[in-house]
Amino acid sequence: MPLFAHVLRLQLRSVSLWGLALGLLNLITVASFPAVEDQSQVFNDLVESFPPEVRNLFGISEGTDLTTIEGFLAAQTFNFIAPLALAFFPILASASALAGAEERGAMDVLLGNPLPRWQLVVGNFLATAVSLLGILAILGLFTWAPAKLMDIDLSLGRTAEAVLNMWPLCVSLGSLAMLCSAVFHRRVLAVAIPGAVLVAMYFVNALGNTVEGLEDARPFTVFYHYGSAIENGVDWPSFVGVTLAALLLLLLAALAFNRRDIYT
């Protein structure tokens, strides 16, 4: 518990910065919606003219209606840039927690205390998962409040579902980074590997609809289970499934970290 509170406190500034950065992106997106709404038919025609591969790459799934605020937000942020960007918050935090601390020389000061190694893994993970909720809360506020102020019909519940839906996706990438951080001694690997996996999963899922051979791989990507909560609400079985996968990776991280040498 002291470690959890300690990490949470250290992450407070990052939470504000990430929340504000992504929040501003959504604020601008919402603010630009009325202008887009006036040209809605032109936009829908333009999107229809794109090949399906391109539409999928930009997070515009079949049935996404850009003339609604939900569809517009899905295409502009929630199904594309927001999860891809936000996943790097837990990736960076987890990479820094073990491999980064080892590189900085901060590990043996901390582990000189009577702290089991698994607590270091779990404490950092839990603090990052809670910090992530903080970022999502700021993001949700910066999405819903401007819509409310501009009389755009966006429900608070649906906004909450949209931001919450990013949590298991980001947490699972954070768990993968924690596993890499536990296995390798270098922070760069603990960032690069999950980062590459994240991008690869995005492409496999986006192109899997149209590229033969990728279809079977889609269920193994986190984006396949992500859906579009801003349009359709949270798919709770997928939410729970991805969270469980994250916990499995966390368990592996704790086991790996327990077995390996610190400093070699």
Binding site: P2, L3, H6, L10, R104, G105, A106, M107, D108, V109, L111, G112, N113, P114, L115, P116, R259, D261, I262, Y263, T264
Partner: protein
């Protein structure tokens, strides 16, 4: 006296190219100050990290307070204060916040001793780590290692970066810690401080423990610096020919050399001339330490 630290054949290798430590057999008794000597890369830090389970031994075993270093590491660390050789602390945190965090991890509520240590060492607990010099960070590291009054202190190069006055205060604190019956195991390559406070000394070379002696015994049984001054110039040849005489230098009436275990013959030979001055000095621990390195190296080369 019970052994607080005991290693049996402790070995840690890092693959084929890097040695670590090999077959280290060591006992550190309760209440003693044990100086662990060796140059950088000799294996001091590897030994310490293995004792604290940061590194897992590839052979042999280590016990601290009779507990296995691997299986009972958390229980061991409850009773140990550790200062790593090279460390960093959270840049944005002040010493006070770090101290309170460590106190919560250890369930310690009374920080009066920590503040007393901070006062004695001149540590500023209010400034963030990024604004502290290496020496001032070292002070914070020492406080974090000692504030909970552990029965065993494991300190890796504790005086690194400290100015001479603070080093003096630190050695005073070590003496008080010993007087309380607590045990101190510390590595250093500053031999003068080891000589001052250690009851026993272990010398590690290329990963192997080459000797463990009481500090006095180590100094007493080693060579001596001898300087003879005669009333008139003398022939240095007979002195150079005596067994145990090394590094002889002659300047007419003055002869200096190092002597290993042959004082009687030297005195008898010197008495044949008109001796007007004689110095007979024991070497510093530093010279003994270097001699261990030079002689061991020569043996290996042969």
């Amino acid at each position: 006296m019970d052994a607080v630290i005991r290693t049996e054949g402790l070995t840690k290798t890092y693959g084929r190219r890097s040695r670590g430590v090999e077959d280290v057999n060591l006992e550190v008794n309760e209440g003693e100050v044990f100086g662990f000597l060796g140059p950088n890369g000799a294996g001091k830090t590897t030994t310490i990290r293995t004792l604290l389970n940061f590194l897992h031994p590839t052979g042999g075993r280590a016990e601290v307070f009779g507990m296995d270093s691997r299986r009972e590491s958390v229980a061991i660390r409850e009773r140990v204060g550790n200062l790593p050789g090279e460390f960093s602390l959270e840049d944005r945190m002040t010493g006070e916040r770090l101290l309170r965090f460590f106190a919560r991890l250890r369930g310690v509520e009374d920080l009066s001793y920590a503040h007393e240590l901070a006062g004695r060492l001149g540590a500023d607990l209010r400034r963030p780590m990024r604004r502290l010099s290496r020496g001032n960070k070292q002070k914070i590291g020492l406080i974090l290692a000692m504030f909970h009054r552990p029965p065993l202190l494991i300190l890796d190069e504790p005086t690194g970066g400290l100015d001479p006055l603070v080093q003096e205060e630190f050695l005073e604190i070590i003496a008080e810690t010993k007087a309380e019956g607590r045990t101190i195991f510390f590595s250093s390559h500053v031999l003068s401080e080891v000589e001052r406070v250690s009851d026993r000394v272990g010398i590690i070379r290329d990963g192997r423990l080459v000797t463990v002696e009481t500090t006095d015994a180590l100094v007493n049984k080693s060579f001596r610096h001898v300087s003879l001054t005669f009333a008139e110039p003398v022939d240095a040849g007979p002195f150079a020919a005596l067994p145990g005489v090394e590094e002889l230098k002659s300047d007419g009436a003055n002869i200096t050399f190092t002597l290993h275990d042959n004082l009687d013959e030297v005195v008898k030979l010197a008495a044949k001339g008109r001796l007007v001055g004689m110095d007979y000095e024991r070497p510093s621990l530093e010279e003994i330490f270097l001699a261990y390195y030079v002689h061991e190296g020569e043996v290996e080369e042969r």
